[in-house]
């Protein structure tokens, strides 16, 4: 569904993405992990068209995405830190995006209900706490039944309860055959969610494996342990 080939991006002298190749298909739930500043967010933003890569290509459903925009109709994006116009209320923002997307059919309001956001509809964005803002971001990502969900650190800033709600939602959507891309630092959270792991380091894809393969290779039961054992290995080498 999403094919990334030889993607390169430099910010100044820093090579943020260095010939990244990645293939994601329907029904997968891919965790994008790696240390800070390894290029996860840049990769995601490249897929969204917010960062323009220096070279390489990204195809979405077989179509190259450079300078295209309609493909984003099938993407729901939850940013790491959601930033919204201060003066608008939650309701207005949702309404605006619905209008911009020209979305006529029923929206997916499960999260809206679960997070009890309806009560806050009139609140201006600037009055909201970080957690509530994240809830808005999550709701927006799922609102239009997208085929692809891109979640950048989805659980950061959410309380355990909300975190659990979101995870349930992710699992549900996975079952619905959506492609889900998640970045996260908290490996423990990903355990029961993801089917594949993409590990990035210094702008390169270090490995791309299914969770089963990973666990098999390392002999660990927990995902977090498996990863750390791989890291140790790579340090020894």
């Amino acid at each position: 569904m999403i094919v990334v080939e030889n993607l390169c991006k430099q910010f100044g002298k820093l090579q943020v993405l260095d010939h990244v190749n990645l293939t994601c298909s329907k029904g997968e739930c891919i965790a994008l992990i790696g240390p800070n500043a390894c290029g996860k967010t840049t990769l995601i933003k490249s897929i969204l068209g917010m960062v323009i890569p220096d070279s390489g290509s990204i195809r979405f459903n077989g179509e190259f995405i450079n300078r295209q925009y309609l493909y984003r109709n099938s993407i729901g994006y939850m940013p790491q830190i959601g930033r919204y116009p201060d003066n608008m209320s939650i309701g207005q923002i949702m309404e605006m995006i619905r209008e911009i997307r020209n979305y006529q059919s029923n929206t997916d309001e499960e999260l809206l209900e679960a997070f009890k956001l309806k009560d806050l509809f009139q609140k201006r964005m600037r009055t909201l706490s970080g957690g509530t803002t994240q809830k808005v971001s999550a709701t927006l990502a799922f609102l239009f039944h997208p085929q692809v969900l891109i979640l950048d650190e989805p659980t950061a800033g959410l309380d355990p309860l909300a975190s659990e709600i979101l995870k349930e939602k992710i699992v549900k959507e996975k079952k619905n055959g959506r492609l889900i891309l998640i970045t996260s630092h908290l490996l423990s959270e990903l355990d029961d969610l993801v089917t594949q792991i993409v590990f990035m380091q210094e702008g390169r894809v270090h490995f791309h494996k299914t969770v089963e393969a990973l666990k098999l290779d390392t002999g660990e039961e927990k995902l977090s342990k498996a990863i750390s054992s791989i890291l140790k290995q790579s340090q020894h080498e």
Binding site: F11, K45, L48, G49, M50, V51, I52, R67, Y69, L70, Y71, R72, N73, I75, Y77, P79, R83, Y84, P85, D86, N87, M88, I93, M96, I97, E99, I100, R101
Partner: protein, 255 residues
């Protein structure tokens, strides 16, 4: 109408700066015309409004607004919206709000009090100058992510066009007063939208003087029908060129 433009305009109206700007313009214009017994003096005050305050407010307000709407831009970018459409909507939204403010604040008293040809020219120039400086604000703010720096650039650009440019021109005139530099001067001044607007208004405001010896030369260049067309063309370029450059930059910008 484009939905994003609607949101931009609503947002700007909520912002209240534009409303205050409208009120200030209105208070100023009505009072100068009401206080002065001949409308010429009022017109001169309004000339300064058109040439100084309008560009200043336009460029600074637009710059600040652009920086403040970075969230909005980011939000929209993750949605199925063309980048050019976002940028264009911001441009149109800002221009329309500022034009509206200028027209309601200053335009109506000008139309009521000033002689028709002067008032029309002043109105047209005020509208063009507003748009030109919105466009310049777009260009300035696309170059740096730092808001403080961006506002600094905006103020510098305004200072340059409103004051420094003329200072340099005057210096040039003194230095080369022994040479026939009229054409050069005309050419150089055509590079500054504020100067162009000023001369166009002057041709109607100070008809008698501009008909004088060198005035006649300028009248030949700017006042003739073809001259006016050329001036309008140049001003149109001033509206679209900075915007076009900023657009191509924005299309490549990483957010």
């Amino acid at each position: 109408m484009n939905r994003i433009i609607k949101f931009v305009i609503l947002d700007i109206l909520k912002n209240k700066v534009v409303v205050v700007y409208t009120f200030i313009l209105a208070a100023l214009s009505w009072s100068v015309f009401a206080l002065e017994d001949n409308s010429t003096k009022g017109l001169l005050t309004l000339l300064n409004v058109v040439l100084l305050i309008v560009p200043l407010v336009s460029v600074i307000f637009s710059t600040i607004y652009l920086y403040n709407s970075s969230e909005f831009i980011e939000l929209l970018l993750s949605q199925p919206v063309k980048r050019s459409k976002i940028w264009f909507s911001l441009f149109i939204g800002l221009s329309l709000s500022l034009l509206f403010a200028f027209f309601v604040g200053a335009g109506i008293p000008i139309l009521i009090y000033a002689p028709p040809d002067v008032s029309l020219m002043m109105l047209v120039m005020g509208i063009i100058i507003s748009t030109v400086f919105v466009s310049i604000a777009f260009l300035g703010s696309v170059f740096t992510r730092d808001k403080a720096k961006g506002i600094g650039i905006a103020i510098l650009l305004w200072l340059f066009f409103a004051l420094l440019f003329d200072g340099l021109l005057l210096f040039l005139l003194f230095q080369f007063s022994d040479y026939p530099i009229e054409k050069v001067v005309v050419f150089i001044s055509a590079c500054n939208p504020i100067d162009l607007a000023r001369i166009m208004i002057l041709l109607h405001l100070d008809v008698s003087a501009m008909m004088g010896y060198t005035g006649a030369v300028f009248k030949d260049y700017f006042g003739s029908r073809s001259g006016s067309v050329v001036v309008l063309l140049i001003l149109t370029v001033w509206v679209f060129l900075p915007y076009a450059i900023s657009l191509s930059k924005f299309k490549k910008k990483d957010l």
